[in-house]
Assembly symmetry: C2
Homo-oligomer: 392 residues x 2
């Protein structure tokens, strides 16, 4: 086990009707809120009215900024920063999924920075503080409701970068599984693929003597795999949503990766797909992850055999380790298929024309650097290209 | 799954040499520290010198108060409160195990309360604030390094009560498994029994649809059960200590009980043993827990069958559920035996003379109340007496 520093301060208020308490929950922390959200879905569902009522009931002043889109844009972040400064906002309340939350975090740190907040994403500048962010989660997927991470797309340069800081850990995240009932099936599936990937990125490691986190990863994955298909049958299955929602938070609050070298190659490779083709993050991960597994498993076959046995439920009876691993990967692909997720680059609408460019952007080669990505196996741009090709 | 409110703000700094960074870690939060600890062991081991050096290197002023004993005493808490007020202490640094930490938390809230801090334990008065508490853990067991709980013994009245508040969650807990190398075998075993009980109290529940936390509890228990015996073989096994130390924190930071009705009958019953006979908490739990299981399992046989299968590794081949459950309990007792833990009241040095008195104190009957304890099965004082007798 490696040394680690675990910090998970986000308070998670979970369950039925919890969104109605948002005003009461944030009242001790704010005088004026920026209400930040996406499109019209929270207005159609009545959630917007519920939130505004709770703010008004608790005498909390607010301004609002809607219009967050998937793969959230830097331009809206700039708008939010300006608004927060003009209106003396002291807390940002994001109502939505990972995009609204990531956009809120970008605004939260940008308010305290004189330059362009893109500097954080582009140059990794450290931050000393950020406005507190509270959340009402409407899409369990990104885990941004518990993490200190944010991913923003710069629409001018076509780049999509992540940034993380303990100062960006949310203050309070409210999660009522009932709010997930109206999600379309493809969003359910994308979310599930995303949260599973957050665990895979931590789980697949060369670090040994990590029994506890191995087990925590495995049981969280099994919980997702056993409950997610129920949601396609019945999107109003509260119990299954509660498992999936809670699992999505645990997947990304940090705990499951403590003491382990982490990987994150699949996330890196997928961000290029999202930036270039605006594909859904989860869909891209579902296509890339099995290809990545096939490409790297020989570098640590024991880890992938453990995955096959303990996560995908392959029996020990298989004649050799390699067969065991292949069966594990096949079962994962079968699970993605059952969830209606795409299996190939073609299904994502991605042809060969930009694979090399994306591979070279992913590792910095395109920009004159030669970074390697990944932990379990270090990947150069040629490796990434090979994996993109394996995923065709 | 029940609604829940999860709050785990304690930062855990884990691994080799981390205790040397204590000054640097707390420097942003303090000008003057109360260094709070037990007996001479931290002086003999050199840890005291390491801590003081780190404080001085970081120009942090300190006063100190040693003398914490197992089942920590109210009188020393009073002394600490007085000292903190006189010396304008703004942070308490506990160096030790659960006793030093629990004593530190009592002082931390007592500083802001005009009356006797025992009122919190006795009357459950709410608190609004407390001094921040930082920790260097030397005994993994109580989980107090991550929890908002404290247990104090009032030596005048012979009562041992617990209290909990989010304001008592530690600020920072430093955990270097190397500091555990010198623990005697009985303390290792007691600590293991205590952390397992923290999981049992959350795991055994009538709440259904809690797949994720079921799995998290089970894998944490399995990690403890597989690693603890290694420590008796080799008390300097870093890897095994890392698993046990981390598991002890996860066992009690709250996560594993979220969304579940919890039990806590065994802890309540054991506190009476500790208060009356000053037995080690973990030893008392090892004696009482199997007796409690035998007394209550018929009220939720499926839960205990799941425990036998998923935690104790009993095969499904057994002819009936009852046999499965009994084998699970027998294996738990066998594990405790291997760890050198006591099996009976007699081995704890407890005869029949005060069983009824303790049972009546435990449920308040002795004080003119008629409370029931427990979650999975509600227990009156006669039930508690039956369990004490089963444990003879």
């Amino acid at each position: 086990m490696l040394n680690f520093d675990m910090y998970m301060p986000a308070r998670i208020v979970f369950g039925r009707d919890t969104e109605k308490k948002i005003g009461e929950l944030i009242k001790p922390h704010t005088k004026k809120v920026l209400l930040h959200y996406g499109g019209g879905s929270i207005k159609r569902s009545g959630l917007y009215d519920t939130v505004v009522k709770s703010l008004l009931d608790n005498k909390i002043d607010y301004v609002e900024l809607g219009g967050v889109v998937p793969n959230p844009r830097l331009s809206l972040v700039h708008e939010g920063i300006k608004l927060c400064r003009e209106e003396n906002v002291d807390l940002i309340l994001a109502v939505g999924g990972g995009s609204a939350i990531d956009s809120a975090k970008a605004i939260a740190m940008g308010v305290y920075y004189d330059g362009d907040v893109w500097d954080m994403y582009d140059k990794g500048l450290p931050i000393e503080k950020a406005l507190p962010v509270a959340i009402i989660l409407t899409i369990p997927a990104a885990g941004s409701e518990s993490s200190g991470d944010t991913v923003i797309s710069n629409e001018e340069t076509g780049r999509k970068y992540g940034y993380g800081s303990p100062h960006l850990r949310p203050l309070i995240s409210v999660m009522n599984p009932e709010l997930f009932f109206t999600l379309p099936k493809n969003q359910i599936a994308n979310g599930v693929a995303d949260m599973m990937s957050h665990i895979f990125e931590r789980y697949f490691t060369n670090t040994t003597n990590v029994d506890l986190t191995d087990g925590l990863c495995e049981t969280t994955l099994r919980t997702i795999i056993s409950n997610a298909p129920k949601l396609l049958e019945n999107p109003e299955d509260y119990n299954a949503w509660a498992e999936i929602g809670f699992a999505g938070t645990v997947a990304h609050n940090g705990l499951l990766g403590m003491g382990r070298e982490q990987d994150w190659a699949c996330h890196g490779m997928e961000h290029e797909l999202s930036a270039a083709y605006d594909v859904a993050h989860g869909a891209g991960l579902a296509v890339l992850t099995p290809a990545w597994m096939k490409y790297v498993y020989k570098d640590n076959i024991d880890m992938f055999a453990q995955f096959a046995l303990n996560v995908m439920g392959v029996s020990k009876g298989l004649r050799d380790k390699e067969a065991l691993v292949k069966e594990g990967i096949a079962r994962l692909q079968e699970f993605y298929r059952r969830m209606g997720l795409p299996q190939t680059m073609e299904e994502l609408g991605i042809d060969d024309s930009r694979l090399e460019e994306m591979a070279q952007k992913c590792t910095g080669h395109f920009y004159g650097q030669e970074n390697k990505i990944g932990g379990l196996k270090k990947l150069g741009w040629q490796d990434v290209l090979n994996i993109y090709n394996l995923a065709k």
